[in-house]
Symmetry: C3
Subunit: 517 residues, 3 copies
């Protein structure tokens, strides 16, 4: 009896956190039981020991074979070819090699793909490994597949049957991956790496086709890929996520959020994207004034976007506090929206206006549209790619159409107009308003490819063979990663230090604690 | 009675940390009460829901209008202009566009401004969001305002009344922001974002004026901005901080320090600053040997500085332990101090000597001068910009003066001397010793502008309308950011994992814990 | 008696973690006692307050003197020299300065050295400061010493007795440091900074000699340093670590591992290495097609390597979970292995095959070879440099030998073959198979220098004067860094926030807690 009373006293004496903790434990055990029950019924299993290595090996071996058959160096990277090219084009200096025009931009784009996208997706408290790690995996696969797909559509030599690649091909391959990485943003935490490989395989394939239609058939300009990358990638991801809707995702709610330091990791990604977006948009524009102007326009639009993002973020909260989700994402929307128009003569203030609007639209999207989509359309969009890529991309497509339609010889010069829109060959007589119309049509093609392709791929991903996590096991690196021991179990170093300082005291204390225990 | 005895037993049984924790809680509650009392009297309020959006919107709309009126592409980024420029200058290759000389350096500078300065200021344990986030905000605003201010002073076409911008303007705009970001270093954690916008508005304005005096009227050389950026920015920040002295800042003492991982985030910023400082100093120097030499000099000085910083840091502690504050900051001082002299023929060993001295001076500053300033001059300098920017910048100005004064035709060649110091037009007959004198005078102008401007801006910031935090609410992101839940409340994933493994045991335990709770 | 009973009750009532914690404390105290005992006997002492500053100052002063005697600007960075060079070589544009060919690659290499290597070594839970901080120190020293050593061997003007440096020298100096930083990987956490300075002093010296033999005497091609950097650095580190074997290292076992966020910091380093490896391999290759091709080859090999790394990592674990150690390290092995062959015409699919194999070999190394080395060969290799540098480097050397031996005029063109292998002067008549033989021999030289040099340096490091930590004090920043207070002691901000919201409740609670305590 005394024991009982003591027990109750003791449990009263225990700190609140502990009892809370215990309650949590109980809740979790509830989940465990449920899961144990599921074990013998139909259920999800994150076992990927066969499927992931199989997919990686099969596809990588396919790459070896296909590269062996198709891919060769182009004339600027081939030793013999470049020497001949220099002679035939009467070039005296190696600095004329396309490499020196494109390499700094390429490396910036490369950083955006791997550190930018990768770390932007580390914001979840317990899915940072998955965010940056799977981004790494699918980008590394995607760029190889992209070199082949884009090569077949754009650079296949009809005589030799070979694809020749150079620095511009590498940039385009990185761009092509970006489409699938954007789609990953909507799926973050809810799919297995094997599913992501499938998303990337089809994503890159669809990308190459829509890019062929938009850039080659429609002859649109889209250097920074507002249409072909962001609009397509955004709607592709949203459509997949819509098909893969999880009604019980709130079982993983406790992990669908950030912690202080995970938000800082995400900020690394966000800043590298923001800083290098001028390189992204200018990487494959025309040499000279084209690249130069694209950088200026993107730089200004992004700066302007930051201010309106902060403004709307602050206005949206009762006390005017800022939300890291907006700062990390909405401030990038201007880069997306300038994807098409940045290389055109949109003027500096035009760029600032685009940035101004994007910050507002994108932040509103995070505040109202994403929750609306989830509730009403049953569309779970982990990173809010709807507001960062889909809508700004679409907007960018239409802005590009308007700027193209209003282009005149007066502004560009006769030569400049032809160069900028590449009005040669069969497009020699295209008027600017026609060009504008095609640009707008291109945007619609990108949306259509994204939505239709995404729905199809979504259904493929619903086969129960891909090892995706159960609804109560989402947003959790535990599913696919061997995790290190918890931070809380680090032996308290400082305490240790104190012991070293107060050595004599320790000796006594240690005896005491030895007795006590 | 038994209860009482038990209670005392229980509290004895409780670990020391807990009772400490409780004590802290009580102290904090004391603060709370005090604050609650203040609520009805005169007090600080961090409510910025109206002021921050208002400032952002008004200023950004002003930017749209002013850019519309004034800013145009320059002849190297304008489609028509570049084609005409190539013809008129007989240029055959696009690689001659200034873009290809400057773009890699520009991107490095851009990284320094946003990731370098931003992450260097994440070192505080609970002000990392504010460090990197507000840095982002004010740099994005500052660079737009800088393009206008610097344009009016340096690039206004008297005929058309327009400012034309190119890649060099973007670099200069980034530089101009740096002045205000340095000032932010002294104010970190003690001001509101609205105040920072004011600091930046005036900072950029003052910068453009002092830069006009130093570079145009005095015709000084200062490519890396030892004078115009670092000396000015440093003293500007110190003067503001002096006016905004908070006698009760020790109420926030518990948050004025780092934790293990916040120091690592800061190290990212420090390293990007350190690595890219050669680009910073060389970004706008003369093409060819000028840029080349600047990089070599800065690289050597920085390397040398690291060793003396480690040496002094180790010597200063009883057991020879190193201090992260020194490593993150003092090792950068050489970059600042080489800001003026790096483009001159200071010789490689001259650069190493400058770095050698800077590491010592700056580390001593952190050890003795910053505490002294705080105690005796009532100057609270959160990041120690006195030791990283103000003093090394001033030093750099005088080093530059000496190197300029000792320049000879023998070293530079006749042509080289004219090119390096731009001794054309009305400066054709200036002697090197005169040049040195002007360089020294320029440093004094930078100090004066910083101090006087800072005091004035400081008084503006003392109006009680800016939403700055109370003395016990400094260094706390809680004031301006919606923070994610605490890390300690992450459900322990490993435990969870263990449950999965020992599923059968769990079932029993769970029953037990259900009973118990 | 009641007290005793209560005590036992109390200790029963305490949560398990706590008692575990206490047990740990006791164990640690055991260590303390042991250490206290050692204090009066022979023991390790991490006191470096004299030795570290002494080494830093002496060596840095030596640098000043030696730079003053030997180092000058080269003709492309000297103001007068460049003007004369332009005239004598009939160059009209500054863009022909080597600076514009190399600077973007140089900055990428610089990032790899300081952020790449530095952050890759932050993965340990309590040695992140040491990882990134000591990397910073030794690289900053090493690059100065490298400029001298490499200058003496490669660039000493026999007439003037001076070494002239330019951008390529800076890249080579960074490369030279890389050798010692790789060695640091094997020693991470087990040596003092003073020892690391010794490792670097000898490492750079040995590097310069073996580089002279391999590149100058044997006339090998090794632009990315598979042989001279990675093979040498890897075996150098392994040999030192073997000599410094610590039989009781398991006393520090609790700290020899990562935590969640330290793995993310390491991922920053890994990704920057991965992304910029194309720049590393191409930084000093021939202008034009040479640099261009090297980038393509390295890019493809790295992408391919990622997929096989993920595959093997997943296969190796019972449930198919991925291991961050593999992802961070093995995915980089392809960059190492392409160090020699990347500039040759290895073909795109050849690169992919190399990457394919490297991912497998390196991951297997982490799984089986490192534990085997530790158990059987008594070789403790903290970062697994055996699998990331030593073996892939050796492999890369032999791949390079094969590709060189099979080079033909048909593939390279006559001119191209001469340029690529620099077959001029006394090497004019060397056949390709001879070249291949020398390449293979060069790899063996690198291994020999690494092993023999490492053993010698290892014995030097065993003198008991360097301040290295005791076996139970390894992997602990506590030894050499003033650490900030523990994260767990941050006052709980959210709780604080709750108090602000529920102000009235607080008042009561605070009274209560005042009473209670």
């Amino acid at each position: 009896m005394l024991t009982a009373s003591l027990k109750s006293q003791l449990s009263e004496g225990l700190p609140e956190e502990r009892s809370e903790h215990r309650q949590k434990k109980v809740i979790k055990m509830g989940n465990c039981c449920e899961r144990a029950a599921n074990f013998f019924g139909p259920q999800k299993n994150t076992y990927i020991r066969v499927s992931l290595p199989a997919v990686c090996f099969v596809w990588q071996i396919a790459m070896v074979v296909l590269f062996g058959v198709f891919i060769r160096y182009d004339e600027e990277s081939d030793e013999k070819g470049w020497n001949e090219f220099k002679k035939s084009h009467n070039i005296t200096s190696n600095i004329e090699n396309d490499f020196y025009f494109r390499y700094p931009s390429f490396q910036d784009v490369h950083v955006m793909i791997f550190v930018g996208f990768g770390f932007l997706m580390t914001f979840l408290k317990r899915y940072s490994f998955g965010g940056v790690g799977f981004n790494f995996l699918i980008a590394a696969f995607g760029l190889q597949w992209a070199l082949l797909m884009q090569g077949w559509f754009h650079a296949l030599d009809p005589v030799t049957g070979k694809i020749t690649i150079g620095i511009e091909s590498l940039i385009n391959a990185d761009f092509c991956c970006a489409g699938s990485l954007i789609a990953y943003g909507a799926l973050l935490g809810k799919v297995s790496p094997v599913q992501l490989m499938v998303v990337t395989l089809f994503g890159v394939t669809l990308f190459a086709v829509e890019e062929y239609i938009i850039l080659d058939l429609f002859h649109c300009r889209d250097a920074g890929g507002a249409m072909v990358i962001h609009t397509f990638g955004g709607y592709y991801g949203l459509a997949i996520s819509w098909v893969l809707y999880r009604p019980n995702l709130n079982l993983s709610k406790r992990l669908n959020g950030s912690v202080y330091h995970s938000d800082l990791f995400a900020m690394i990604g966000a800043l590298f994207l923001w800083m290098f977006w001028p390189s992204f948009n200018s990487a494959i524009t025309n040499h000279g004034a084209g690249q130069h102007r694209t950088v200026i326009n993107t730089y200004l639009a992004l700066a302007s976007c930051v201010l309106t993002t902060f403004a709307i973020s602050s206005m949206s909260q009762k006390k005017g506090k800022l939300d890291m989700v907006h700062i990390q994402n909405a401030s990038l929307a201007a880069g997306v929206a300038m994807g098409t128009a940045a290389e055109l003569m949109i003027t500096p203030y035009g760029s600032i206006i685009v940035g101004f609007c994007c910050g507002i639209i994108s932040t509103f999207g995070y505040l109202y549209v994403t929750p609306f989509l989830e509730k009403k359309l049953k569309l779970q969009d982990t990173c809010g790619i709807h507001n960062l890529h889909a809508v700004p991309g679409m907007l960018g497509g239409f802005v590009g159409a308007i700027v193209a339609a209003t282009a005149t010889e007066e502004i560009y010069g006769k030569e400049g107009l032809i160069e900028t829109f590449d009005l040669t060959g069969k497009f020699e007589n295209r008027t600017m308003s026609t060009q504008g119309g095609y640009q707008a049509a291109g945007t619609c093609v990108a949306i259509a490819f994204g939505l239709v392709g995404g729905v199809c791929v979504g259904f493929i991903l619903r086969f129960p063979i891909w090892g995706d996590p159960a609804d109560d096991f989402c947003f959790d690196d535990e599913a696919y990663w061997e995790l290190p021991e918890d931070e809380e179990t680090i032996p308290p170093v400082l305490e240790y230090n104190n012991h070293m300082v107060n050595k004599h005291h320790d000796t006594h204390e240690s005896q005491f604690s030895l007795e006590e225990s």
